[in-house]
Symmetry: C2
Subunit: 360 residues, 2 copies
């Protein structure tokens, strides 16, 4: 069967060579008489997979020795709670910069634990942009500043992280993780569900600075205490073995592509072409402000919702999948994660041109 053009927002397209490798090894990992689905998480085989995956990520993202890399379960949504459980006290305060629905959800969970200071929000502007540095009202007492580096639903992205002085910086990087180089040393903690650029659903990557762990209070449920997973190197209990294995293969693929600088250049090219097509006439209209535009999730509208429905129907019939905007906002969203080939972007642009000609 022919593979479609997969514009899913996550879980999302994966590199074909990774899928082929999984297929090839499904009944027997090389040199091991069993499937990766059947190996013990305490085996040498998995030890090697786990440490190679960690090492590759450390190399690719240039993660300093001051930071631990963890592979957890529960998605970014569980991190919304783990971060404040570990680092916010009942009478403490944390800064949250609110740039979309995911930031809002993070705030909701933090409020169950302690106080939240909304350092900035662009809700009034329908989250069409990232706030400027000068708009941030940071609390000098804050236990940390939390922000969402890429807003999957609204299609906005921080060009670079906010400046927060000496307050620990925490980032939900779910939807742009591994799409560009990052200065990890600026972060106290960074988390990302793997299911966009890094792998399949089922594993969440957390990068946390060693010295920040000292703040964690005693008495937390063992599975929710970051120290548990640091101490046991993500092997306190049975980890999501297969998802970690696939992340390892994706990282290997990204290294072969030339690393994150090459990946970022490819992203810029793909997004650049698509935004140019949107901007080239008045039929399509991008929803994000120009200098807040996401390179990962390109959100746009057509002249009216009826035309959008026709567009989505015709697109699906032509092999373009995953283009409906998030159910909370509507419109069109084309997600351009690393594994999406340029060919798919060009095909979409062709389709858009043709559709506009027929319906303008």
């Amino acid at each position: 069967m022919k593979r479609c053009h997969n514009f899913n927002a996550g879980p999302a397209v994966l590199p074909v060579p990774v899928l082929e490798r999984i297929r090839e090894e499904m009944l027997c990992l090389p040199g091991v008489g069993m499937s990766v689905l059947e190996i013990s998480h305490r085996s040498k085989t998995f030890e090697t997979i786990l440490s190679e995956t960690e090492n590759r990520l450390r190399r690719l993202l240039n993660v300093p020795e001051t930071h631990h890399i963890l592979f957890l379960q529960g998605g970014a949504s569980l991190q919304f709670s783990m971060v404040p459980l570990n680092f916010l006290t009942r009478d403490g305060v944390a800064d949250y910069i609110v740039t979309g629905s995911w930031s809002e959800k993070a705030v909701e969970e933090a409020r169950k634990i302690g106080r939240v200071n909304i350092a900035a929000t662009t809700k009034e502007e329908n989250y069409a942009r990232i706030p400027n540095q000068s708009e941030l009202r940071l609390d000098p007492q804050a236990a940390y500043v939390h922000f969402t580096s890429n807003n999957t639903i609204f299609g906005t992205q921080w060009p670079t992280e906010p400046e927060v002085g000496t307050t620990p910086l925490v980032c939900d990087a779910s939807s742009d993780f591994l799409s560009r180089p990052l200065d990890v040393s600026k972060y106290a903690l960074l988390y990302a569900g793997a299911q966009k650029n890094a792998g399949p659903a089922g594993v969440t990557i957390v990068i946390v600075r060693e010295d920040w762990l000292e703040r964690i209070p005693g008495g937390l449920p063992t599975m929710l205490d970051y120290r548990t997973h640091v101490k046991h190197r993500s092997l306190y209990n049975t980890p999501p073995v297969f998802a970690i294995y696939v992340v390892g293969l994706v990282l290997e693929y990204l290294e072969a592509q030339g690393g994150l600088a090459a990946v970022a250049a490819a992203s810029a090219e793909k997004a650049g072409k698509l935004y140019a097509a949107i901007d080239s006439g008045s039929f399509y209209r991008g929803t994000a402000e120009r200098n807040s535009r996401s390179l990962m999730n390109v959100c746009f509208r057509l002249p009216n919702p009826d035309l959008e429905a026709v567009f989505l129907r015709e697109a699906a019939a032509n092999g373009f999948e995953g283009l409906p905007g998030h159910r909370s906002v509507g419109g069109i969203r084309a997600s351009l994660y690393n594994a999406l080939p340029m060919e798919s972007v060009l095909a979409l642009i062709d389709f858009m041109r043709d559709f506009a000609r027929r319906h303008a």
Copy 2:
């Protein structure tokens, strides 16, 4: 490459037809132009996978309409905390029947939330048996009674669930889930990591009685509140799509085998033959008392640890994997989950006979 005899305690052996099906569909699910690793969890395709998996499980285990079926992340270890967070109050008490290391860990997490009454423990006897009904000292005020149906490390198994009157019964069924029919109506909540009989690591199955949910207090982290997952039918956030898909394939395979009665008969036959081999002379010695013996994890010793080391070395050289006992107890453990073929058991028995003849 030749597949080994896989006696892993979990993650563990899976049915070959399931692995072949995964391999076949890895690049494109039938009728869908993408891999199961690339589909959206909000797609029709996944909706169908999820509901078919739930329906199959409901049929196989005869789960009544009074009970919800959930597919969660975090392993059984996160359930150790979620159960008391949802159902135990700070000044309340819960009964725990302690039959091994996993029960101990469950107790440890419950003690962080409220009071625990150890209703019985066989620790003094090195967990070699399941307590009798008459030994249980149940607290009539208990919010629930928690027990571990099969003790993966010590190789003991409850022949049937304890009688607990009207107190809600909670079970960690991780290592014998789907190995035999169960009267689910007796349980308020039952949980199991999938990675023994039900699928790969990365998904945890929870079955919970609707009317018990009313007891859950407000203010819990959203991801730790069972009501979240009931309300959103395991789709509050991105679920472990692939692990659920594989569970669905395993359930389909189990149905084709004739369901849980057939599976239980096969287990009894496999374990019967292995225990008979152990009992047939004095060289091998089972560690569990006879009427507490597990059909899933057969634990035994040799005359001395040196011989055990030789046994394990030779076994590995002959294609028997996963036979070392848990690192906390040593000895030998042969796990006989559903997907382990009788052929592997017979081969092991042959090897054991030969080894005993050479070393007795």
